[in-house]
Amino acid sequence: MSDPINVRTLPPGTRIVTADGAVAEIVSNPADGVWLFARYVESPSDPALVGQEDMIFAQDVVEVRPT
């Protein structure tokens, strides 16, 4: 497991990578450290998700892409 990422302070526009390899861009951050509202930009395991907005759980975030 990777080091836990504190998602609380990630600004909108940040790209994150999820556990199943998808990449999503933060739309808004409720700053609760648990959830992010993000839009999928890449989703190899389920291409239908691309373009969709979803709530992403902090434990599913494995990487923050440098901007």
Binding site: P30, D32, V34, W35, M55, F57, A58, Q59
Partner: protein, 460 residues
């Protein structure tokens, strides 16, 4: 009247024929548990002020009875009240006193709720719940009814409770003075920042009956009357119109609300109060005149201290405050205090009043400190097995109240006792406990809304 303190509530503990009330209703743990169910879960309760949540996403954590609730304005702009407890395992969802948010996220396992209460985030919804959890069923528990009345927010857990204005009945006219500005403009008040919260070691009904109109306990405030709450007021907390006005106890029997009030004479001009502060004195004088013009006879009425059944108290005069008695077990009460000023008052007036409020009310209030001492030790000294056998006396002024009270051609709704000569009465206190006993005995709101039965009977 000897009453063994086994078992909970039973008829007769509140005996208004003899004017005696058993100490059991204050100290008995079973009765306490029952009243949470029968009183607090059925009545309308004060939750907060709309100005505390002006924007979508704003929230203020309040309380209803023993429970923590979230007062919030949802994305659509609507005022909502939710139980502050996660549906998954009960964690307190919001532990901030106030703020703005898009979601209320539970710190325990991460369930997350929108400001409309809907469950929007469930960790591992697809994986762990196999997308099977019916999220619509698991939103935050919402109160059954909410009402915003002149900026104040009220709620009830009982869907069968009558609408809030019907719950107030004739009392609404008297309560107006609390929320309208002093010149009589509708709802022209605002809340000062900061809600006082503190613990008092007595049953919640001690403060409730005190604010219902215990006009007998002035003696306990003699020390502050001697030194003055200052800085520029003279010694007495009373205002000069006391000498000219009728002093009244006004109770709404079928609703359980009550207040004390001054009714000013029609012709006599009232000497200005706050003489030591010309700005303030001036402001009140102007407002007083405007109110009389606008409200006619009702402008002559000055509501003082009162109580909306069961646990919201107010002082409509200065210090203008709202107090809520949150029960914390039979032997403890958490008091919450909001302070109001006229929105359009000059800043100097607001500052003057704010200073006065703090010195009068609350834990540092030179007046209320003595009240809390009395409630606390009265409660403590009533807990013993022997003490409980002896009822309290509420006989003062029994039978002196009148319906259709009239003075100088102005008649007032409600059941009224004129204290001008009598000085004091326990009429309002009896009214509180009459209603309390009705709540303890009635099986549902059909029974509690006795006025509806009367109206139905009259229609037939």
């Amino acid at each position: 009247m000897a009453t063994a303190h086994v078992g909970g509530y039973r008829p007769g503990l509140v005996d208004l024929k003899t004017g005696q009330i058993s100490r059991e209703i204050f100290v008995n743990e079973d009765i306490y548990a029952e009243e949470q169910e029968r009183v607090f879960a059925r009545a309308w309760l004060y939750v907060g002020h709309e100005s505390q949540v002006p924007n979508p996403g704003d929230f203020f954590v309040s309380g209803m009875g023993e429970e923590s609730v979230i007062l919030t304005r949802d994305r659509a702009g609507q005022v909502r009240v939710f139980l502050n407890s996660c549906r998954h395992r009960g964690m307190k969802v919001c532990r901030y006193d106030e703020g703005n948010t898009t979601v209320f996220t539970c710190p325990y396992h991460g369930w997350s709720y929108g400001t409309d209460g809907r469950l929007v985030g469930v960790p591992y919804f697809r994986e762990a719940y196999h997308s099977q959890l019916d999220r619509l069923q698991w939103g935050l528990v919402e109160v059954a009814q909410t009402c915003v009345h002149k900026g104040t927010v009220w709620a009830t857990w009982d869907k069968d409770a009558p609408p809030f204005l019907e719950y107030l009945g004739d009392f609404a006219r008297y309560l107006d003075q609390m929320f309208d500005s002093w010149d009589g403009s509708d709802g022209g008040t605002e809340i000062l920042g900061g809600v006082q919260k503190w613990l008092v070691p007595s049953n919640w009904k001690f403060p409730a009956e005190n604010f219902s109109g215990d006009s007998y306990h002035n003696i306990s405030h003699r020390s502050v009357d001697m030194v003055g709450a200052g800085p520029s007021g003279s010694g007495r907390r009373d205002m000069p119109e006391l000498n000219l006005a009728r002093k009244l106890h006004i109770a709404i029997p079928d609703r359980g609300h009550q207040t004390t009030a001054y009714l000013l004479p029609r012709e006599v001009e009232v000497p200005a109060g706050y003489q030591h502060s010309p700005v303030v004195s001036d402001y009140f004088k102007k407002c007083e005149e405007a109110r009389r013009q606008q409200r006619g006879d009702w402008g002559r009425l000055i509501t003082l201290v009162g109580e909306v059944f069961p646990s919201m108290a107010f002082l409509a005069r200065q210090p203008r405050t709202i107090a809520v008695w949150h029960p914390r077990g039979p032997h403890q009460t958490e008091v919450w205090r909001w302070f109001l000023v006229d929105k359009n008052a000059p800043q100097d007036v607001k500052n003057f009043l704010r200073d006065y409020y703090i010195r009068y009310s609350g834990p540092a209030g030179m007046t209320e400190q003595d009240d809390m001492e009395n409630w606390g030790y009265a409660h403590k000294a009533s807990r013993g097995t022997i003490a409980r056998r002896y009822s309290y006396s509420y006989e003062q002024g029994m039978g002196t109240e009148v319906d259709n009270y009239e003075w100088e051609g102005f008649s007032l709704p409600g059941s009224v006792t004129d204290l001008t000569q009598a000085k004091s009465s326990e009429h309002n206190l009896r009214n509180l406990y009459r209603r309390w006993a009705e709540f303890m005995e009635a099986s549902d709101w059909d029974e509690l809304a006795s006025w509806r039965r009367a109206q139905r009977a009259a229609a037939e």
